[in-house]
């Protein structure tokens, strides 16, 4: 399941929802708002998402990950709106029988959602400036001109 949230992500509650008696390995990833990007001091971040396609593309990503690295449970939540330094922008949790599938599925999910989901990030700098962050590697992922 993938969700978009404009409230802080309750990672503990999310993790509890992945409880499964056959799970021996659990891997989680969190993206945190850090204080700089490419030399700019970041003050806060703003995320915008187009939710209908975040959900439909996100569910595809979760299904692909399950096919490649059979897991038992997985969830993903992405924040939108204004985030302060240190806040969790994206959370992914995966429970699997063994650690190998848990790690690989979690990594697959974050790598794919970063390039495929319609989510945009605007950085607000300490200088007062702001700017939308582009994906320099998108060209490698089949985006058209």
């Amino acid at each position: 399941m993938i969700e978009v949230s404009d409230a802080p992500i309750d990672t503990a509650a999310l993790q509890r929802s992945l409880t499964n008696p056959a799970a021996g390995g659990y891997c989680a990833f969190e993206g945190w708002v850090r204080n700089e990007n490419e030399g700019h001091k970041v003050h806060r971040l703003e995320y915008e998402a187009y939710e209908p396609l975040v959900i439909s593309e996100g569910e595809k990503v979760l299904a692909e990950a399950r096919e490649r690295f059979p897991y038992l449970e997985a969830r993903c939540v992405h924040r939108v709106g204004l985030l302060e330094l240190g806040e969790c922008a994206v959370w992914i949790g995966v429970a699997a029988p063994h650690r190998d599938e848990a790690f690989k599925a979690c990594r697959y999910i974050i790598d794919e959602i970063k390039v495929r989901l319609p989510i945009w990030k605007k950085e607000h700098y300490a200088s007062g400036d702001s700017g939308w962050v582009n994906c320099e590697r998108c060209a490698a992922h089949g985006f058209a001109d």
Binding site: E48, E57, R116, K121, N134, C135, A139, A144, D145
Partner: protein, 80 residues
């Protein structure tokens, strides 16, 4: 001529100054719609690395557009 609703996101919305507009266009593909909006808003934004959706389904730039479609123009995603 077709009636096409165009939705702009993130930097595209800021550049166009509107989130959505309905246009009468002589457009065959999603790419034609994109080029029309670029001309309309005098865009000098880089036009590479973008994605497009039609009626809430991810599409290709050469996907055909039909009268009444909603075309969503997505600038490059956050990535990284």
């Amino acid at each position: 001529m077709k009636t096409i609703t165009v939705r702009y996101f993130a930097m595209f919305r800021e550049h166009a100054g509107v989130a959505e507009e309905t246009l009468r266009l002589d457009a065959r593909t999603a790419h034609d719609v994109f080029e029309s909006t670029r001309a309309r808003h005098g865009s000098t934004e880089p036009n590479g690395h973008c994605k497009v959706a039609i009626n809430d389904h991810m599409a290709d730039w050469d996907s055909p557009v039909n009268d009444g479609d909603t075309v969503l123009l997505f600038p490059p995603v956050a990535g990284g």
